[in-house]
Symmetry: C2
DNA sequence: TTGTAAGCGTTATCAT
DNA sequence: ATGATAACGCTTACAA
């Protein structure tokens, strides 16, 4: 364990400070002794004690990466990209996840600060505004906004994305698009996408459905449930749902029967209040386009479609954000948008390190990355 | 930044030691002063300086998690599981990836040691034997083996897995199974699976194909290429490939034409020498089963099948390891094995922490987790 | 160019 | 039960 500067100094008959300088500030040491020291250091495989160094320097080269969810493969990839950049530039990345929980985010922040991180890239949650408001090390926000407007921000241009998506679906002939969104109160990117909807071509109708869930698996399950509800509501479109409590039963099969029973109450319990009302939204015009605004929503939607192959006949146009990697493996194509998170992540980490190194002094900026349409 | 014990001590007119004890060893301090101190500590939101603590204690509660590849969603999930366990038990997880590169693995190990990690869970690479041979902190190996036989190991029972897989395919009527494997020289799990093949029911024929690649994306691409080669070779089964250099051209479309040209040389460049020889393996009997032994291989195989929908008529039985999450999204079912890595990861982290805490003293053990057949 | 010495914030030891 | 003191390994004025 403990080979220390002292011991090296003793072995080479120089002072500890000379050894320290040979390692950390080579230009302050004569070529001859420098080489002698470095050679010996290399030989015995000496590794400086980072704790001691950080304590003395009152700083570190540790950068924090705070993510909401590593189970999301897009985010995991972004994490990988950022770690690599940090490494290449001589920093030590520390990655933590919050699972959208206040307690975990607060604890993670504590640990980061205790570890003396010199900066952080975060995917902010709805709690981040409160938690990060008074942190005075460089912070860069990725994918979402804390609305603190104090940090550099890198994310997709949600307004452009929504416009590209809806334009495509309109061009495909859609007249009534159901838009599946996550929790707009808790996740800023969904909020932005929701608001962007009102700025889209308004010659057609949009029915936004807003899920409450924030965890990946729950979003998938609820999106599946919601899709089933929408499709079954289409099927019995003249139905006055307000009058009856059950829309339909999917055949129980060997699934947990509780979950597969679709009810109006079950649906409302999963949606935020300002969702479109399923009881009315298909009255005038059937839904002919389905727009999922992230990967998990798309996954859930596909679960529903796979469980009900007969829906294919209804010829509903599909579109999803996030370009899920599994699209490559599907035997049919779904139109999508390129997911610029990887690029945003790399820019975010570089920006953070530039700030840490003082290469950027200007006021924080918001960088919106424009996605591209990916469709045959 | 720096609220220190000293300042707290001064403010409360006690000595720094008392404050330190109130925090780290409360039972050594009278109830009265303890509460007074803790209350104040809480009020001003004091956070101990971890560097100073680690330096003084000559230890830490930092545990390392060293993974080959975060882009693999199964591994990312395992990482998440391990981080959560470490947190819950009061440890601070530090996650690093090696991308199967010696340099990155060596550097990551350095950083871990410099950070004073008190233990590590690693997914060993072919280099880990050399790198970790002389490390004397607790280490647990996940998913693969370094063959050091010094550490606890948690992974799937590859022999059982191969038997379940081949038994299933045989039961489905297969007589000749092509087995797609990764780099058996570099990745111990593929080696184990390869060797397990010879212990399977030998009433039928197996043709193992061994890819060289170790990176996720390259495995996918090469598995796609290999699948195309196999299928096209089937189509022209009487062909003497040794006599002609090009098997076939897939229509160039807008893809990079270079990649889509399948040649014998192109194939050999991607395979290890002891692979089955495509020129001979379909002579006696056509391949009627395709067994992919991890998620990436399956992904590549599906790419190939999607690009050539006419192959569906050949009614080749598919089976894959790893239960890729995208199977849920496919409109058809592929038989698979449960992927016990999540469970293994949780056991591995708990085992590591038990060792660190001295709760386990016995000699290191190998734990093989038996997978389950997942098929309709 | 090199050495000396002080100190970063914490905790272990010893003494009270 | 509490306080004084030294020490963990490293860096950095300052001195030589």
């Amino acid at each position: 364990m403990g080979t220390s500067l002292q011991e090296i100094a003793a072995a080479l008959h120089v002072s500890p400070s000379t050894v320290s300088r040979a390692i950390s500030a080579p230009h302050l040491v004569s070529a001859k002794t420098r080489e002698r020291i470095l050679k010996y250091v290399d030989k015995i495989g000496y590794k400086p004690n980072i704790s001691a160094r950080n304590l003395r320097r009152q700083s570190s080269t540790t950068v924090g990466i705070l993510l909401n969810d590593l189970d999301d493969s897009i985010i995991a990839h972004a994490a990988n990209v950022m770690q690599n950049i940090a490494f290449q530039r001589g920093y030590f990345p520390v990655l933590l996840t919050t699972d959208e929980s206040y307690d975990k985010e607060a604890e993670a922040l504590d640990r980061m600060l205790m570890s003396n991180v010199c900066g952080m890239v975060i995917i902010p949650s709805s709690y981040s505004g409160e938690l990060f408001g008074s942190i005075d090390i460089p912070i860069v926000e990725l994918d979402r906004s804390s609305f603190l407007h104090r940090h550099d921000e890198f994310r997709m241009d949600d307004t452009a994305a929504m416009q590209i998506a809806t334009d495509y679906l309109i061009q495909q002939g859609c007249k009534h698009i159901a838009v599946l969104l996550g929790n707009i109160d808790r996740v800023s990117s969904f909020r932005a996408r929701y608001m962007a909807l009102s700025m889209c071509n308004n010659s057609i109708r949009y029915s936004p459905f807003l899920l409450q869930a924030t965890e990946t698996q729950k979003i998938i399950d609820d999106a599946c449930y919601l899709t089933q509800a929408i499709m079954q509501c289409q099927a019995k479109s003249r139905l006055d749902l307000a009058m009856q409590e059950a829309i339909d039963h999917t055949p129980p099969e060997q699934e947990s029967t509780e979950e597969s029973l679709i009810t109006l109450e079950g649906l409302q319990a999963r949606l935020l209040p300002n969702s479109a009302d399923l009881r009315h939204c298909t009255r005038d015009r059937h839904i002919d386009g389905l727009l999922t605004t992230n990967q998990s929503l798309c996954t859930g939607m596909l679960h529903a479609f796979n469980a009900n192959p007969e829906w294919a006949e209804q010829n509903i146009k599909l579109f999803t954000f996030d370009n899920p990697s599994y699209l490559q493996v599907l035997p049919y194509r779904i139109a999508t948008l390129s997911q610029p998170l990887e690029h945003a992540a790399s820019m975010a980490m570089n920006c953070l390190l530039d700030r840490i190194e003082g290469k950027i002094q200007e006021h924080a900026e918001v960088h919106l990355l424009r996605p591209e349409l990916l469709a045959d």
